[in-house]
Symmetry: D2
Subunit: 387 residues, 4 copies
């Protein structure tokens, strides 16, 4: 296969740190983005970072990275690296991102941005400074790049929903339903920051703020841990130190009210990231398990003919779709990442600030912090901190 290049021959050296689930899907995006999108600079997959040399080498071969580094501090300083893609657990995001930005590298960072607000604040501040120097950063809330959700954003932006009244968001998974499923790093507070809240709750907080174009101003929350101990390696048991689920209500700046739920115990729901918004003029509804569809109710339709319409978001007029297949030929999960890096590469080319920025990531972090605070204070209403 030929080396990556664009029409003008410009390329961008990319290094990625972390090579499990997110590493695999990001690799797929870097490998293919310029085959479909006219990005100003084509990615060169120059290096993969990981702690275990043998496993990192295997992953690099598998995913198509040209070299490996076991020390991320070395990696982020390499001259052939223009951009650092952070796919590690949340407790490492801050250090890596700060170092990469300091080294003048663009940064793509997986969500949640950090495990604490304090870290996120540092990162957002560093990103602001770097931006002034032409060094860009983005947090990887990939659901913004689902065509159906980008279309929902467009509808809101065009006023087709009118004044927003209700936001109803849920992210339902079931991989912990089995009480005997083993311990993972995702259930340890020191590594993951939080449980369902930070992992998938963060997605719906960002997605609702993105689609509505508004900030959440306050929340009231309830969290729960259904299975407090799980089997660990070696036959022992280990305490689960994060939430298994988080339920919260909230208010958006304009007065819309919202309900949120994130859980890994919704048996039968595999990746049901759901969003419904009701406005005075229209409504939209979405479920990631049918990710190519957006349901739109147009309140301007006469009552006789009104109904939620199932828009198959695979037409050339739909966001990102011109790059792909004919109508009705569906996209999948991975393509949200292709879109993400396409947008990032385009922003790097044009010099526009990419979104979601680290400031957007910080905003989500503040919502998560308010959720946790409310949950530990008897569901008391908490204002989301403003910068």
């Amino acid at each position: 296969m030929t080396e990556a290049r664009t029409a003008n021959g410009q390329t961008l050296g990319v290094a990625m740190i972390g090579h499990s689930f997110m590493g695999a899907v990001h690799s797929q995006a870097w490998r293919n983005v310029h085959r479909f999108f006219d990005v100003p600079r084509a990615p060169r997959m120059v290096a993969l970072g990981g702690r275990d040399e043998r496993r990192t080498k295997e992953a690099a071969d598998r995913f198509g990275w040209a070299s490996v580094e076991t020390d991320w501090r070395v990696l982020v300083e390499r001259d052939d690296v223009d951009l650092v893609d952070i796919c590690t657990p949340g407790d490492t995001h801050c250090d890596i991102a700060l170092a990469a930005l300091a080294a003048g590298k663009h940064v793509l960072c997986e969500k949640p941005l950090a495990n604490t607000v304090a870290e996120a604040e540092q990162m957002a501040a560093a990103a602001d400074r770097a931006e002034a120097a032409g060094v860009h950063s983005m947090v990887a809330f990939n659901y913004r790049r689902v065509p159906a959700l980008a279309l929902a954003r467009r509808l809101v932006d065009e006023g087709r929903l009118g004044e927003l009244r209700h936001v109803r968001a849920a992210y339902l998974q079931d991989w912990l339903s089995d009480a005997t499923a083993p311990m993972t790093w995702r259930l340890r507070k020191e590594q993951a920051g939080s449980g369902a809240l930070g992992d998938i709750g963060a997605h719906i907080v960002d997605a609702t703020q993105f689609v509505t174009g508004e900030r959440l101003t306050g929340v009231s929350a309830l969290t729960n841990t259904f299975v407090p101990r799980r089997p660990a390696a070696g036959g022992a048991e280990e305490d689960v130190t994060v939430d298994d689920c988080a339920l919260f209500t909230g208010r958006f700046a304009s007065g819309a009210v919202a309900s949120f739920e994130a859980t890994r115990y919704a048996l039968g729901r595999k990746n049901a990231m759901r969003l419904e918004i009701n406005g005075s003029r229209g409504s939209i509804s979405f479920d990631f398990e049918s990710m190519n569809q957006l349901w739109f109710y147009d309140g301007d339709d006469p009552g006789e003919h009104a109904g939620f319409r199932r828009i198959l978001a695979t037409e050339p007029e739909h966001p990102y779709l011109e790059a792909w297949w004919p109508p009705g030929h569906l996209l999948g999960y991975e393509h949200t990442f292709t879109h993400e890096v396409a947008d990032l590469l385009t922003a790097i080319g044009t010099g526009e600030r990419p979104r979601p920025s680290f400031a957007d990531g910080l905003r989500v972090q503040r919502v998560l912090a308010a959720v946790e605070k409310s949950a530990t204070n008897g569901s008391r209403w908490e204002q989301v901190e403003e910068e």
Copy 2:
């Protein structure tokens, strides 16, 4: 048409008070129940109560009631009346029910049972005393009689859902989405008690307690009034004094966590009374807009073949269905009332206490009160009062 009678010729004199929406649908149930169900006593529709004689007379003719009374105090004392069916606004329930029970009449009372906990307590106490004397009472939470939800209850009861973890309930309507829609008694606190909360929120509180077989022990709530003033008769405007929506989280006795939402502003959702429950072994999902369907995920199915199955609850094995049509020939909204009065008549015949009892209605009222208290106290967690 022939007069109502059962195989053994026994009948029951029924009087109904109120003749708008609920009156119409209750009439349909009384008129037809014994044509499909083998009830021990067939209803005789002896009298309709209403304040305006002419309009009440017209309604009686339309609905099939043999006589009218403009004073409910007279009505409840009539010798030919064995049962009083209360279809009036909530502020009148308590007085009528107490008088009817005192007169030794069975009572069916529309929901919510009352506008306050204090009234509901009086009613429940009176119902208990009457029950001891063989006088029965029931509150008309008709959604318990949706075959699909009765089937859901059966599945929970049989343990097919295992340990319950999540309850997710919403009742979404949109008839107030238009900010210019006129004022109605349902938007006045003194008549309706509350807004979406008592009208439709009450239904999902009862339905979740019914299907889970558990009580809600605490809640945290948020209510909102989107449109504070509406056009009244005569061109003036009138203040809306109730909630337009109520969102709350809750905990059930066994530890399951729950989210609730009741609103009349979910544009495009006409009567979306939705319920999803996730347990350790199975899940169910329901939406009244497809009321003949229950979705059931059986966690015992092998992963390869597992999926939410759409059970069309029209088989003879399903609750209430033996009385009706062949499989696939759907039932509608009104039949939930037919089932309700069939169950009530059967209970009167057997002497078993009908459910939902006034005590069940009081329990719902206490949840609503806790919701209102939490909403006025910054969403602070409120325990639901126990008797």
Copy 3:
């Protein structure tokens, strides 16, 4: 309960013959129609006809008929009878209808109109003659009275579908899937005329001609009998002498092409009467298992926002709905019959010819005959006979 009457006090004496499934649902319609619709004359349920006196008497008590007759020839001559409702198997329709019309009674006849074209021709001719004398008749294709299908008809009529190109109809049931299910009269050619073809295929032939407003002009067909012998009473086996399924293609007068399928072996499909029509400007889709919904694709919508919209046909603007409940409160199977008799009573009052007429029923019969002829001639194309 009070006797049937309308505002002006006029009534109509109705006699029904047959008291199994169709008898039950017709009774429900006659009993309740004037409670919801402002019909010019309210039905009086004067007599039920049936061969077995005891069973007929029981049914009359159950369903609300004032008297019984064991000889339909006596019944159709009774002075208190203004209308005869024929709910018997197809082999008796012709004799009864001719006698009733001759006696000057209005006639409602269950579908299919007859078991042969010759019978149907006699009936249609008699109906034409009677019509001239102010005696009306209607064939009971109740699916025309599903609000969602009446709405579909309206959309076609308004040109919202443009030029029609495709009609796709199926009626799928599964009650014969089990090869050991016992013999019934519906599987004997001499009584039922045909199998799935006449029983449920007739419905989709009529429904497609109704919704499109066009005639089927030719067909090519395939029929099959999967289980040739079934257990009969007394332990013997009996030959199934009708089709188990019928599949056919067809052309409508305007050039639209069509596919039809009727079967009782579609395991899991209970009463899936499905219809999809694609035109140059719009499309509609319907499934009776979700009978309150019509899916409409408006080709005039811009591509970005186009999609099949799920119209919940429960708004007051929808056909028949003004008589019923608020939006989102579903109707069921039985209400199609309430609408049917409402329309018939209205036609009798206004003197307009009711539809579907016996001529419409004859048209369906001719299609069925062409289907059978094609199926026995190697699927050869058969023109549908024109009158």
Copy 4:
């Protein structure tokens, strides 16, 4: 990005001819297959064939092919080419495939295999001879590689559907609904062979034979051309010389009956490749517009709990899924091609004959020929020719 290689370092030189829609999606498959599947030899994308050198060069750069050839006769002889992938219109398949096989190259050929049965016979014979020499060939019916359809096949194979009775297949598109859409090569008989029939009808013929494991033995058909002339380049009009739609019934070897429909005029249906099969023990249903779902009705479930279950075919137990993401993270259209080449590469490695073979492609061609023959003979039943 690193060069393609597998764990053992073995590679396979691939050349592809044609670079429009199919070329783009095949390129994506060749580029990524070994990143997800443990194929015995990794593809090297050595050359792209196309008539126009500049355009071919641009496509090669875009898609990642190392060189270009404008003469396919040269291409198929190149020493660095081990496999030829034919993505050109149907009229060229035969010549290219025969030459490639003669040159000892493995062949992947887009569907339909050829434009005539005679060509397909030549190709199948050549493929048989080549196979004996270890040279493999496959026809690109990619829908066999939809995980949900591969799962359907597995269910049939395991007997979970019992004796098959009904097959109901449709492939509905709408890109010709607009009568003013311009002429394309797909509407010229000499290039495309046929219209909707060969393009998309071929897919459902193969898919049904694949899932059922049975052959279609006879058909009766109807074809139609709704828009006989379309705008051509230069303002002229050109005759459409193919079918716009094809409807046919059929019988499978075991006695199941079938209906098929292929059209490009089903307004609102974008790529609705639908399949439903009803057996004596179970049923399945599928629609490509929701391609990650298989609906399965298990007739062994008790009636009370039976229903079509929506299996989200994204579990590791599902065909092909172990290579991809966690449950609920959907695949898209392109992945069916990734699976296709993974299976082909695996077959080349193991020496097993790949399926669908050219013989399978010939079988489809014979069905299409019978369909055309029946359509031109008044829908007369036509046996499908047996080899």
